[in-house]
Every structure is written in C-alpha cells, then in structure tokens.
C-alpha cells in the first residue's frame, strides 16, 4: 500500500525585496517576467504542489533556472520558503522552529550535493562521520557506523584519505555513504551525478537503483537530464519557470506531454530506451486453435493476404503460428485440426521489453515477434518495420498506442 511520505502544497519562493507585493501577484497568477518587471523580485518557485510516495524515486527535472534546486532546498529549509507547506510524514517542516528542524535534518532527511560537498580538511571517514558527529553520537559508535556505510560503497580502504585524493565518482560515493550513514528516511539528491562523466554516471545510477532495491528510501532526485530521469525515476515532475508543469511516470510524460514545453523537452530523447514493445505493437490476426480448422485459416489468409497467422487458445494464450504452405498441405490431406500443423518456434517477448532490446530478437527472426503478458497471453505482434518506424517517428504524429 502506498503512503505519502513527502507532500508539498503551494510552495512558493520569492527572491528579492518586495516579497509581499510579489506574492500577491503570484496569487493572482501573474507570470514570472511580469512580476520581475513590476516588483524587481524573482519568483524562484511558483505554487508547486506534489506528493512523493514512501519508497519511490521521485525525480524533479528542469533546465537551469527552472527552480528545481531551490525547490529541493526548501524541503530541508536550506532555503526558507516564502509561502506554502512542506509535509513530511504529515508534519509541516515550514512551521518548525530551529530545534525541531535540526532534529528532522539529523534524523530524517539527508542530502547529496552536485559537487559532492565533502569537507576537504577531513578524511573520508571523518566526512562520513559528520552527520553522526553533530548528533553527538560517541566516537566508537559513529566510526563503526561510518565504516559500515563506507564498506557498503566499497570505499573502506580509502577511509584515511582526503577527498581531493579520490576521483569524482568515488567522491560522490562518499557523499552518498555520508548521507546514508545516519540512516535517513529521505534522501535529497541535488544533481548528484551531473558533475560526473557519462560512463561513471551510468554506473552510479545503476548502483543507486541496486541500493534502492534493498534500502527502500524515499529519494527525491534533481536533474536536468531526461535520460537520467527516465532511467531512475519511478515518477518525474517537470519544472519550468518555477512551476511544476507535469507529474507522472516517464511513460506518461513521453507519450502524453502536458504541454508544448514538456513536448520540446522530451523530443530529443532516445525513444528506443523508453518505449516498450507494448507501445509499438500491432493487433495481430489470430486463429483460435479449437474453433478454427485449416479451411477457415486458408480462407482468412486469402482474404487478408497473409502468409502466416498466430494461433491462440480460448484464453488467448499463445500456442504458435501457422504458415500458408502448411495450411495448403493440410487442406490437401484433409486434416481437420490446426494442432497438427502449428509451429512453435516463434520468438515471444514480454510487453515491457524496451525497443532497443527488441532489435536483436527481431533481427534474427523470420516471423513477427509475439508480445505477451506475464501469463503468456498474446497481446500483439511487432514486425521489423514497426521497430524502425518507432525510432524515426516524428513528434508531430500521434503517440503510438495500439491497444
């Protein structure tokens, strides 16, 4: 059962002197440029609202200046919100006094920074201990916990080195280990992998996902990279000019962009990495194995000009396929049952297979590829042309959806 871990309601941040005046204009729905012109104040975040579920990776994506970094910093009040509520487990962070806020920062929410935020004057171990140290955990215990966190990240051998002796990827692993050392419930990651080169970034994304499988933290991840969001995000919020313009799964955002901005944002994504077989499959012509004999098959193949047809049972479970030659032979020999001539060497893939994984399957296959669900029920077919078509698909066209 999903429970809401973090909820923000109408969260607004205004930078500048005429805060109150600008806030009034925000409430009246004036645009960011308009408010800047009238008051000289900048709207950092404009009435943002969303819910983050327990244990999900929630990605906030936007270009620079979209307010995503401001938004994430309001969640632990590194930046004070101008207005709005931030509920963590139902408690409003925005209304807490310093002492309560400190407790939340120490026990519930940790942060990972774009440029790692490691203290250069401390060793790796001392960096990892920091969160526990400020809580007043005694030295032996905090060292043990920090060493365990470093061990999980495979960094224990480096514990006595300084941050500048480590590569970027390793430094960010330390940043992550430090954030996890005091076992927070929520992890805020601000462009955590953006400073790393692409290959290391991929590795870090994989490691994060792997860790998340066992940890089940609630992770709020900021990025400007769509591919990164699609890779790691359970759900994605897209921000523009301080507003949250769309919240949804990667799939929903790609196939159904909320507005032109989102559409432009997503248009250059490598579609093969996000579209699944289900998105591009076609409705197949099928024969029911019990009801149809070779003569029916021949009739239908002639009518639709087909050279082969898929065969299913009454529950739509895939049984195989028949070819026109086999059918002709069967009719000649006066066979009554399709079962005798069904071929079963048809490749079948799960509906959630990504298109780029379909390449190999379809390349080696003479027949179309059958798309099935978890119970082997036939959902559709994909032929070579469809895969290629999906990849070159122009954005003006309607989203592919054959269901």
């Amino acid at each position: 059962m999903l429970t809401t871990k973090v909820e923000i309601q109408n969260l607004t941040k205004i930078f500048g002197k005429k805060e109150r005046q600008a806030l009034e204009l925000v409430k009246k729905g004036h645009s960011k440029e308009d408010i800047l012109e009238k008051t000289g104040a900048t709207v950092g975040v404009n009435k943002a609202s969303f819910k983050v579920e327990q244990g999900e990776i929630f990605v906030i994506m936007g270009l620079s200046g979209s307010g995503k970094s401001t938004l994430v910093r309001m969640l632990n009040r590194l930046i004070e919100p101008t207005e709005g509520n931030i509920l963590i487990d139902g408690d409003d962070i925005a209304k807490m006094d310093k002492e309560q806020l400190r407790k939340v920062r120490r026990e519930k929410v940790s942060m990972v920074f774009q440029n790692f935020g490691l203290f250069p004057h401390r060793t790796i171990l001392e960096n990892t201990e920091y969160g526990l140290e400020v809580q007043g955990v005694d030295k032996a215990e905090r060292q043990e916990k920090a060493e365990r966190a470093l061990d999980n990240a495979g960094l224990l051998p480096y514990k006595d080195q300084r941050p500048n002796q480590l590569s970027g990827g390793m430094q960010q692993r330390v940043g992550l280990a430090r954030a996890l050392a005091n076992d927070p419930e929520i992890l805020l990651m601000d462009e955590a992998f953006s400073a790393l080169d692409p290959l290391i970034r991929r590795d870090m994304q994989d490691e994060l996902l792997e860790m998340q499988d066992t940890m089940h933290k609630t992770i709020i991840f900021i990025t400007h990279d769509l591919n990164e969001s699609l890779r790691i995000g359970d759900r994605i919020a897209i921000m523009k000019d301080g507003e949250v313009v769309q919240v949804g799964t990667g799939e929903e955002i790609l196939t159904n962009p909320a507005n032109e901005y989102v559409e432009r944002f997503v248009e250059d994504v490598d579609r093969s990495k996000v579209l699944t077989a289900e998105n591009i499959m076609e409705r197949p012509q099928t024969l029911r194995i019990k009801q149809s004999g070779p003569r029916v098959a021949m009739q239908r193949m002639k009518a639709d000009n087909l050279s082969s047809m898929l065969v299913v049972d009454k529950d739509h479970v895939l049984k195989g396929y028949v070819t026109d030659e086999d059918i002709l032979e069967a009719v000649k020999q006066d066979k009554k049952d399709l079962q005798e001539i069904v071929r079963t060497d048809i490749p079948k893939v799960h509906k959630e297979t990504l298109i780029h994984e379909l390449y190999d399957v379809i390349h080696n296959s003479q027949t179309p590829v059958a798309i099935v669900d978890g119970e082997d029920k036939l959902l559709g077919i994909v032929v070579r042309g469809l895969v290629l078509g999906a990849l070159v698909k122009d954005r003006e066209e309607e989203p592919v959806d054959e269901q």
Partner: protein
C-alpha cells in the same frame, strides 16, 4: 565671496573635545589603566626574564630546530636563523632582542585573541561588518605615532603603552582576514554542514574555521610583522628593545649603531615571517 562665507563658520573644537575625552578617561579610569599597567608590566618583565634565563646557545638551537621543521626540512631557513641570531648575539644585542620578542609576542597574542572573535562576528553579522569596517580603516590609516599620545596618557611610559599602541596598529589584518576567510567558505560546504543538522557553533568550529584557517593565518602573519614594526616606533615612549637602540642612534646621528640594530630587526622580521608562513603551508 565663498571664502568669507566659509570663514563665518566657527572652528569646531575637535582637538579640545579629544583632549577632554582623554583627560576624562585618564582621571576617572585611572584605577583601571593603573591595574593594566602594573599587571602588564609584571607579566612582560616575567616573560623577558624567562627568555633571558634560557642560555643563548640553547635558545638559538631551539629556534633553528623550529625553522627546520617550519621550512619543510630544507636547510636555507635554519642556516639563516643560525647565522642571524649569532650575529645579533655577537653585536651585544641579545638582551634588547629578548625585550623586542616579548613585546611582539604579547602584542600579537592580544591581537589574535581580540581579532579572531571580532572577525568571526563581522562575518556573521552584517551590522557588525558595517560598523567595524570603518573603525578598522581608521586604525590602519591614522599615523601610528598618534596612538603613542593616548598610550602615554593612559599607561605612562614603558612596555605596556608600547603593547597598547602595537595592538591597535596590528589588529586590523587579523580581523579582516578572519572575516574574509569565513565569508569565502564555499556555499556548498555551509549547505552540507547545515543539511546534517549542525548547530551554529558546530558549523563554525567543524567547518568554517578549519576551512578559513589558511586565510586567518595569513592575517596573523601580517599582524605579527606589523606588531614588530610598531614595537620599534613605541621605543619613542620608552619601550625597551632593539627599537630603543635605533632611536638612540637616530637622536645622536650615529650611522654605525643605527645600522647594526636596524639589521638585527630585519633578521628578526625575516625569521618570524618565514617560520609562520612555513607552518601555515605545512599544515595544508
């Protein structure tokens, strides 16, 4: 005519005001200044006696060892220290040297004790920064000799007024550099520290001060050298030491003794500067 209009304005009695303030302070707070003078003189005489109690050979060896470690175990600085101190001893300036070292030591320590907290305060408070910055400008640009006058009024003559004027003159770099050092700590370090729930003092002592340390040390280095230069000027109001020899030579127009004492000051300045820099570098 303009000048006649300006001439109509009566002269403001600024100098009378200043004199009155100093006189009032001297008369009403004499118990306070007296206590500082007596305590300070007792302390500094004690330090000088202690320094003079150490045999010169041992003292020179200790400083050479210090220079050896400060100079990252290279030989240039220790050799210079050895030759320089031998020269000073050879010229019969050992006792004045000890007085000068005492003055510089006490003035520098006081400057650091006052300067670092004030610098932190300026970094944390915009108001403090706004008020203290012009005071620092005043302290640094006012000709150093001017401080000698109230120093004499408050403390008479001797080592204590010398230290008083040296502290005023030498304090600003430590304050400014501490302020600068803390303000220069990268935002991400502050955010990282805050995000783990640090209190204000945890943030200061665990993150800001350690990161600002090289800058603060550069300020302290400046402070020590300024203290040394002021200690020489303070000889005009009876502070003992190498400066006293320079002033004596100046008054009698004796080129030789003036150069000998002056060169001893240069040697001391170079040793102090290089040793402090060396320790600052080797820490990082």
């Amino acid at each position: 005519m303009n000048s006649s209009i300006l001439d109509q304005i009566p002269r403001l009695p600024v100098s009378e005001w200043m004199s009155d303030i100093i006189t009032w302070l001297t008369q009403n707070l004499s118990w306070f200044f007296g206590a500082i003078r007596d305590g300070g003189a007792w302390l500094m005489d004690g330090i000088t006696d202690l320094l003079l109690f150490i045999p010169p050979v041992l003292f020179i060896l200790l400083l050479v060892a210090l220079a050896f470690f400060a100079g990252r175990k290279k030989f240039g600085l220790p050799v210079f220290t050895l030759l320089g101190l031998l020269y000073i001893h050879n010229q019969g300036l050992w006792e004045p040297l000890m007085y000068t070292i005492t003055l510089v030591l006490v003035a520098s320590l006081l400057s650091i004790l006052i300067g670092v907290p004030v610098g932190i305060w300026m970094a944390k408070s915009r108001t403090a920064n706004w008020i203290i910055t012009p005071i620092l400008d005043f302290m640094q640009t006012m000709p150093a000799f001017v401080y000698l006058i109230p120093a004499v009024a408050f403390f008479g003559i001797g080592m204590v007024p010398g230290v008083f004027s040296a502290v005023i003159f030498a304090l600003p770099p430590t304050v400014r550099f501490t302020n600068l050092g803390i303000r220069q700590v990268p935002d991400e370090m502050i955010e990282a520290s805050e995000s783990f729930g640090s209190t204000g003092s945890q943030r200061l002592f665990k993150v800001e001060l350690p990161l600002a340390k090289p800058t603060i040390m550069a300020g302290i280095n400046q402070t020590v050298l300024l203290a040394l230069s002021m200690v020489v000027i303070a000889s005009m109001i009876g502070a003992p030491g190498l400066g006293e020899r320079v002033i004596n030579a100046l008054q009698r127009a004796q080129v030789g003794p003036g150069f000998v004492a002056g060169f001893a000051l240069v040697v001391l300045a170079i040793i102090l500067d290089r040793v402090l820099q060396g320790f600052n570098k080797s820490d990082n």
